[in-house]
């Protein structure tokens, strides 16, 4: 067998290897630029980041949040139920770089904006276990001690080509990195009005499946400590959220409030708990003794 000539000619081998590499590269990496982020992809309601939000995004990158948190909801039943409407390409046109991530050691954050009130985020960033007792997220209290650098942020906005006003930049002087981070987190996924579109609609009659049952109340007490106490107080006395007095509600109304949330005042939807656990919570709040 005669030896193929690439085995005797390193320059030929380099050229052939480059060609072999180029084919797949051009088709799967270069060609998509013709479609992606084109006009067809655009979503009119998706806006660039404000100076404060972009500053928060830079902190998110600096702290490596993307090592544990993804930012794309897949069009899969469980993903959409847990996190919200699936992600669209046009929602990311201002993301340089993208922050989709590759792992969910923590939950996906693509639809985090508007889920919790600001106060929840401030407390959670400073001490995650204060809001989520079993959390393994590191605490970032030092962000509150670090003032923003308005001049650098203005340069960033110029590089990114995002609109801003001098007043907006001047206002950053009194803000810190925690403010920026919370502003960024509240922006995530809000470019489209998905909460209205995917709001839970409860059809048919609701009926408490275990009214005043002791086991349901006990289970509800545990669930309350894990999911509600951070905002409504360990004894229902209130905090970030209002004081809870079970006698103010019907079982069915309370179920709906917990299951679907109240999208305009920061009460998250707890549909992710599943209906059975929400009923247990209803029984604890209405009939338990905190």
């Amino acid at each position: 067998m005669s030896t193929p000539s690439f085995e005797k000619n390193p320059i030929l081998l380099l050229v052939l290897a480059t060609l072999a590499i180029a084919v797949g590269t051009i088709i799967t990496m270069v060609l998509p630029f013709a479609w992606v982020n084109s006009e067809a992809d655009r979503i009119a309601s998706v806006t660039p980041y404000t100076a404060l939000e972009q500053a928060g995004r830079d902190v998110y990158i600096r702290e490596g949040c993307n090592n544990c948190h993804s930012q794309t909801v897949r069009p899969l039943v469980a993903d959409v139920l847990r996190y919200g409407d699936y992600s669209k390409s046009g929602e990311f046109v201002f993301d340089r770089p993208h922050l989709w991530g590759s792992r969910r050691a923590g939950p996906d954050l693509a639809r985090l904006g508007g889920k919790y009130p600001d106060a929840w985020h401030y407390q959670h960033m400073a001490a995650p276990t204060a809001m989520i007792p079993a959390s393994n997220m590191p605490a970032y209290p030092f962000l509150s001690d670090r003032p923003l650098k308005p001049a650098t942020i203005a340069k960033s906005m110029d590089v990114l080509g995002f609109p801003y006003t001098q007043a907006e930049i001047d206002a950053l002087g009194s803000k810190n990195e925690m403010d920026a981070m919370v502003a960024y987190l509240q922006k995530l996924g809000t470019g489209i009005d998905w909460r209205q579109a995917t709001a839970v609609e409860i059809v048919g009659d609701l009926r408490n499946p275990f009214p005043q049952a002791a086991t349901a109340i006990a289970a509800g007490e545990t669930l309350y400590a894990q999911n509600c106490a951070a905002c409504h107080g360990s004894r229902l006395e209130g905090g970030i959220g209002p004081e809870l007095d079970g006698s103010n509600y019907d079982d069915e109304i309370l179920f709906e409030l917990i299951y679907a949330g109240i999208s305009d005042n920061g009460m998250p939807a707890f549909a992710t708990l599943g209906s059975e656990k929400v009923w247990q919570l209803v029984n604890f709040i209405r009939y338990g003794t905190p």
Binding site: M1, T3, P4, F6, E7, K8, P10, L13, L14, A17, T18, A20, I21, V23, G24, T25, I27, T28, M29, P32, W35, V36, N37, D41, I61, E63, G64, C65, N67, V77, A78, L81, S87, K88, S89, F92, V93, D95, R96, P97, H98, W100, S102, R103, A105, A134, S135, N136, P138, A139, Y140, F142, K155, S156, V159, A271, T272, L273, G274, E276
Partner: protein, 468 residues
């Protein structure tokens, strides 16, 4: 017979430093694995999981992986070309610049200067250092090959040359970014485009850094260790060209179910399945080279490392395409399964082959017989057991996590909250951490053995080796 004065000093120096960076990678890996079970082990701001995890991956891939490839390529290229390095001075410069780059990388990552792109976190000034480093290395290798005294280029040289050009293209394209300050830049690409470019890079960094170079090492050191040639030259040719052609299509299998265009995802899935053929071409070539030599698995510790290494390569290249299938990806992507997969490649395939090559070189670079073969065997078992505990615990963890994430009640609502799934991971993370500690113990045995060898093992029994 003509004798050639090979430059082994540079090989020895690169090995020393690559092992040091490998030790850093494993130490940091063990620390961050325990941070996941105990958040109090995060020491903000510099030593949090988010800043340490890129340090772990960069130290492993660039410090240990590429550092060792520098050493082994410089050894192989001289032997296979029957001539000394084209430039000893350039190689010397490269050694110091390599360490300067790794130190700069470690410091800037801990300070929080990073691009967020996985396996390409280094900010633009350090990107430039990496490019200088790669050019210096490539020029030296290519010029040594061009001026070789052996007409035929052996398989290992093909993989080396492909890796040189492949890494250059991948790194430069993915590094396109606009600087704002000395340590802050923004990607030239946005959103979905940025993601697609990034995983074209990310997956092919696996091809050009963690597949082609260790295959070059394997194809050289297996015949050297067993004393019998590679089974089929023709199979080597087919496997080589089909591997470097097919790999570049597969990046988007990291982006299944994301907004990346469906046809890009489908191509990535199809080519990932096709990649089984060239990958297993090399696995079969390795196995069939052992025809009549399997007794060496018992007698020759080097063969044990190499054959287990290529076996993990084979398993890796079956598991990888499985994960690239849409339906399976929907289940296990984003779970702990994936670190299990990655570490079988890193701790199993790549590192076992590197350990074998370094053991083979020990007598040649230190001028002494290896201090202790029983210790090398102990290292083998610690590495194997540590890696298996790591990977298997993560696979089980990932399946349980995926099952819980997707579980639905009969009324169609989710069965588990995210936190209920997270707390289930803690026992597995403990077990994984213990696997890491065992692997670290193996690494300590390896380093001890090499230090004792360098400090005065027995004089080698080898004669001045014949050229090539």
């Amino acid at each position: 017979m003509e004798t050639v004065e090979y430059n082994y000093a540079i090989v020895r120096s690169f090995i020393t430093w690559s092992i040091l960076w490998g030790l850093v990678a494993v130490l940091v890996g063990v620390l961050i694995s325990f941070q996941l079970v105990n958040p109090d082990l995060n020491f903000a701001p510099y030593l949090t999981y988010g800043r340490l995890r890129p340090l772990h991956t960069n130290a492993a891939i660039f410090g240990w992986g590429i550092g060792s490839f520098f050493a082994l390529f410089y050894y192989m290229v001289q032997r296979l070309c029957r001539r000394p390095l084209w430039s000893d001075g350039l190689a010397r410069f490269q050694l110091w610049f390599f360490n300067a780059t790794i130190i700069a990388a470690a410091v800037t990552l801990l300070l929080g200067f990073n691009t967020s792109k996985e396996y390409h976190e280094l900010e633009w000034p350090i990107d430039i250092m990496v490019v200088v480093l790669w050019v210096a290395f490539s020029v030296n290798i290519i010029m040594t090959i061009v001026k070789r005294r052996e007409e035929q280029m052996y398989i290992s040289l093909w993989y080396m040359l492909a890796a040189l050009v492949g890494v250059a293209i991948l790194y430069l394209v993915n590094a396109a970014e606009v600087p704002v300050t000395l340590f802050k830049s923004y990607s030239a690409y946005a959103g979905t485009n940025d993601a697609n470019v990034q995983w074209w890079f990310g997956h092919n960094a696996v091809a050009m850094v963690l597949t082609a170079p260790p295959l070059a090492v394997f194809y050289y050191f297996l015949p050297k260790s067993t004393g019998v040639p590679i089974f089929s030259h023709r199979l080597s040719i087919v496997a080589f060209w089909s591997l470097i052609f097919m790999y570049l299509w597969t990046g988007a299998h990291h982006l299944l179910w994301t907004p990346v265009p469906d046809w890009v995802q489908t191509l990535a899935m199809a080519f990932s399945i096709m990649l089984i053929a060239p990958s297993w071409g090399s696995v079969f070539n390795g196995y069939l080279s052992m025809n009549g030599q399997w007794h060496q698995m018992r007698e020759n510790y080097l063969v044990k490392f190499l054959i287990l290494g290529i076996t993990f390569y084979g398993l890796q290249t079956l598991q990888g395409p499985l994960q690239a299938i849409r339906s399976f990806s929907a289940f296990i992507h984003y779970t702990e399964w994936v670190p299990g997969h990655v570490h079988m490649g890193a701790m199993g395939w790549v590192s076992l082959v590197l350990f074998a090559a370094i053991y083979y070189l020990a007598p040649r670079i230190y001028g002494r017989e290896l201090y202790s073969i029983p210790l090398a065997n102990l290292h083998f078992w610690l590495a194997l057991i540590g890696q298996l505990i790591y990977s298997i615990s993560m696979w089980i963890a990932g399946l349980q996590q995926a099952g819980m994430w997707h579980a639905l009640n009969s009324d169609g609502s989710l069965t588990y909250t995210f936190m209920e799934t997270l707390v289930e991971m803690y026992p597995y993370w403990w077990i994984r951490g213990i696997g890491g500690v065992i692997y670290l113990a193996g690494l300590a045995v390896f380093i001890y053995n090499l230090i004792k060898t360098a400090q005065g093992g027995k004089q080698p029994a080898l004669q001045a080796a014949p050229v090539a």
